[in-house]
């Protein structure tokens, strides 16, 4: 009779799980970015496809090369490498030489993730680290913005895309300043409707605020994102710029312009909310978000650059372990409130 007993496993309770897994959460972010990615292709044509593709290839290749031999391919399955590549690509100018985009993806994963110990161990957002690397290395190419292709059709490519590695990049074609640049250097305000729907010059993913918000709402509904972070960032930016507008309405941008221009929505919804590099505690999330918001405005208004989302997030990434340490929740039955 004993022989008929099944071989019993001894997995520890709890045996039940909610359905979400880490790769699913990563894929959710990819799905959430589909509308914004499609929009970038609509506005910038084949160039968008090529730049995004180069970043993803660079990121995935780094992930594959640096992985341990046995785990090769394993780490690709969680989709986090693809996500990093896509996010990086969405922050780049459409006319960027493809080899730079590739290099950005490669460095983002290599220096931003793998050397820290892989997924879950990095201090800085890998996509933004890749972008910071590109901005430091190729400042001209990274700040050469182009108008959406518009009438010239999907298959027209910005000539800059095809520049050969380490040759003088051919920066020509019709360059144009981003709304933030125009605001900062020429006090020329872009109409809000253009910002919301995306027909402006800028990086691939930062053009259409509406589609970015749509993806953010999807992530919120799927509970993949800590709503406190985008809400606190956007509120801080809005409040801060309202205050500035009250001081001098001609010099400073309006709150809505601040929220919808540049990479703020992309950064607030998809990069600042990277769980690995943002605080894990609820109070910490508020502090983190407020910090990002304040830094964004400080850099935009008082710094030398028109856009500050990247540095704002990276700086707050660095502060995350400290924030976590000082915002531990009050344990049940301890401290005030007990009894």
């Amino acid at each position: 009779m004993k022989k008929q007993d099944p071989d019993l496993l001894l997995f520890h309770a709890p045996l039940l799980r909610q359905g979400m897994t880490t790769p699913k959460a990563m894929r959710d972010v990819l799905y959430a970015l589909v509308p914004a990615t499609a929009a970038s292709m609509w506005f910038f044509g084949l160039s968008a496809v090529l730049v995004l593709g180069s970043c993803i290839v660079g990121a995935v290749l780094a992930e594959w090369i640096f992985a341990e031999r046995q785990a090769r391919g394993e780490s690709l399955r969680d989709a986090s490498g693809i996500l990093t590549g896509l996010l990086l690509g969405l922050t780049l100018p459409p006319g960027l030489p493809l080899w730079m985009a590739f290099l950005g993806g490669f460095v983002g994963i290599g220096l931003g993730k793998v050397i820290w110990g892989g997924l879950g161990h990095n201090l800085f957002n890998p996509a933004l680290l890749g972008r910071a690397f590109l901005l430091a290395t190729f400042p001209i190419a990274m700040t050469t913005w182009v108008q959406p292709t518009g009438d010239s059709g999907f298959f027209s490519i910005y000539p800059g895309n095809l520049a050969l590695p380490f040759m003088q990049a051919q920066i020509d074609g019709i360059t144009s300043a981003t709304p933030l640049g125009m605001m900062k250097f020429e006090h020329d305000v872009t109409p809000l409707t253009n910002l919301v729907f995306g027909n402006v010059s800028g990086s691939l993913g930062e053009t259409s605020g509406l589609l970015l918000l749509l993806g953010g709402i999807y992530l919120f509904l799927r509970r993949d994102l800590d709503w406190r972070i985008p809400v606190s960032i956007l509120l801080t930016v809005a409040i801060f710029s309202t205050c500035l507008t009250l001081v001098d309405a001609t010099r400073f941008p309006t709150p809505l312009f601040s929220v919808f221009s540049g990479g703020l929505l992309l950064g607030a919804l998809y990069m600042a909310t990277d769980p690995v590099t943002s605080p894990v505690t609820p109070r910490g999330a508020w502090i983190f978000g407020i910090g990002v918001g304040v830094l964004v405005i400080l850099i935009r208004v008082f710094g030398g650059l028109p856009e500050g989302v990247m540095y704002a997030i990276l700086l707050m990434n660095a502060a995350t372990p400290l924030i976590d340490r000082y915002t531990q929740p009050r344990v049940f039955g301890r401290g005030a409130g007990a009894k």
Binding site: D5, P6, L8, L9, L10, F11, H12, A13, P14, L15, L16, R17, Q18, M20, T21, T22, P23, K24, A25, D78, G118, L119, G120, H121, D226, P275, V276, S278, V280, T281, P282, A285, Q328, P329, R330, V331, F332, G333, R334, G337, A338, K339
Partner: protein, 446 residues
């Protein structure tokens, strides 16, 4: 503000696993036939094991004392059947270790009637005698912890118990024992509650039931006598609503301070099954020799709610339910969130065993573990507001001492964090490992 929070009847955090109670919630409690061999482990409650008072070959009657309490935090043990003591020695226990137990062979010709069967005049008992009686009757917490019931009754001088809280939450998925007891024996529940309330000198009895058992709430309401100081509090369906500190928070909006007991906020908490056992002993003279067990899960042919004599091997219980389906991979004693896996079908049903749950591939398929991405889902799940993510990381690094600063000993191992973790990190297991290590080191230092 406080009134508003009372309206919500809730504690913060926690998780929402699917109930899975449909399999058995409508099945009346059935009695399992007697089998040949029984095993009564001497240590089936928290605390000191009981001490055997019988010898091999001795004839025992059903309900006869076979082991006496080994200390204050210990209870008596009674024979679940009329028969002969076949062996006193080490038997394989639920945790896989050998532990002292008494083997009993049932007498096939006995009627298996309870001989005792006499009510006890509990009203005239002094509190000390009452506590001793509960201890000798072998009554322990029937919710799963198996903590001796009389210890909770022994309140130090100066501490007043104002509320007797009866725990009918049954927040563990699959289990329906408390639900069925409330439906089928509401009189016994209210009688036992009255005995406990009077002996504790409490002002009122509060019965907390999750709102997914509206029939139980209705039936108990119907049985409450006019003027009886009993109220029933419907609670939000959320795990772990039945953890006593969570339930106190939900019902009275009080936080039991860490390291203290419910009595420190003037509450005494008992499970529905424990209260019914009290009634059975004082009104019918039956000590704790059997209990209600839910047998369920996708691997059981005929799920059921059963009265099982203690010491019945799981094998016999499962056989009564039509056996295991092919593809059975794991059997859990207790609930799926906090229960313990058993390695063999030969382990007996114990006082604290509320369920025998049989799981198949779908629940036990190897779950790939991913790195922690600090998503914070565990923090939002932990009803004690701990930081499970940090605790798991520290445990993996074997930094157990640091875990003490993160209040690892406040963790009750409810499993919410592990349930919520998208990376399938066995957080509770990591925490248990740390607690074990810390406890052992403390022991060896002493």
């Amino acid at each position: 503000m406080k009134a508003f929070r009372l309206l919500r009847r809730n504690f913060e955090h926690g998780v929402h696993p699917a109930h899975h109670k449909g399999q058995t919630e409508d099945l009346p409690i059935q009695r399992v036939p007697f089998v040949q061999d029984y095993v009564m482990p001497l240590g089936q409650h928290i605390g000191v094991p009981a001490r055997s008072v019988v010898a091999v070959g001795e004839r025992v009657r059903r309900g006869q004392l076979i082991a006496e309490p080994g200390g204050f935090v210990s209870t008596g043990l009674h024979s679940p059947v009329t028969g002969t003591i076949s062996e006193i020695g080490d038997f394989r226990g639920v945790d896989g270790r050998f532990a002292p137990a008494i083997g009993i062979e049932a007498d096939p010709f006995a009627t298996q009637q309870v001989d005792a069967g006499e009510a006890i005049d509990w009203q005239s008992l002094s509190l000390e005698d009452f506590i001793t009686a509960v201890q000798m009757a072998g009554i322990v917490g029937m919710g799963g912890a198996a903590f001796p019931a009389h210890v909770k009754l022994s309140v130090p001088d100066g501490v007043k118990i104002r509320h007797l809280l009866i725990n009918g939450a049954e927040c563990e998925p699959f289990l329906t024992t408390d639900h069925r007891l409330m439906l089928e024996r509401p009189e016994a529940l209210l009688e036992g509650a009255e005995i406990m309330r009077q002996k504790l000198g409490a002002e009122e009895t509060v019965i907390g039931v999750e709102v997914n058992k509206p029939d139980a709430i209705k039936i108990i309401r119907q049985h409450i006598q006019p003027g009886q100081p009993v109220r029933i509090v419907p609670l939000k369906v959320k795990y772990p609503q039945g953890a006593e500190k969570m339930m106190i928070k939900s019902v009275f909006d009080k936080e039991v301070p860490a390291g203290q007991l419910p009595r420190d906020v003037e509450v005494n908490v008992n499970n529905v099954g424990t209260i019914v056992a009290i009634a059975d002993y004082f009104l019918r003279g039956m000590p704790l020799i059997e209990r209600v067990v839910t047998v369920a899960g996708p691997g059981v042919t005929y799920p059921a709610n059963l009265i099982v004599p203690l010491g019945t091997p799981v094998r016999e219980v499962v056989r009564f339910c039509g056996g295991l389906k092919p593809g059975t991979r794991e059997i859990i004693m207790g609930g799926p969130m906090m229960g313990r896996p058993i390695a063999s079908l030969d382990v007996p049903i114990l006082k604290g065993c509320s369920g025998v749950l049989v799981f198949t591939e779908a629940q036990t398929a190897g779950r790939k573990e991913y790195p922690c991405i600090s998503c914070g889902r565990c923090l939002e799940a932990c009803p004690y507001f701990l930081n499970p993510s940090r605790l798991a990381r520290l445990s993996k690094a074997r930094m157990f001492d640091e875990m003490k600063q993160h209040h690892v000993f406040d963790c009750v191992e409810c499993g919410c964090c592990t349930f919520a973790c998208p990376s399938n990190i066995p957080i509770v297991q990591l925490i248990r490992t740390a607690k074990d290590d810390l406890a052992h080191r403390k022991e060896s230092e002493e």
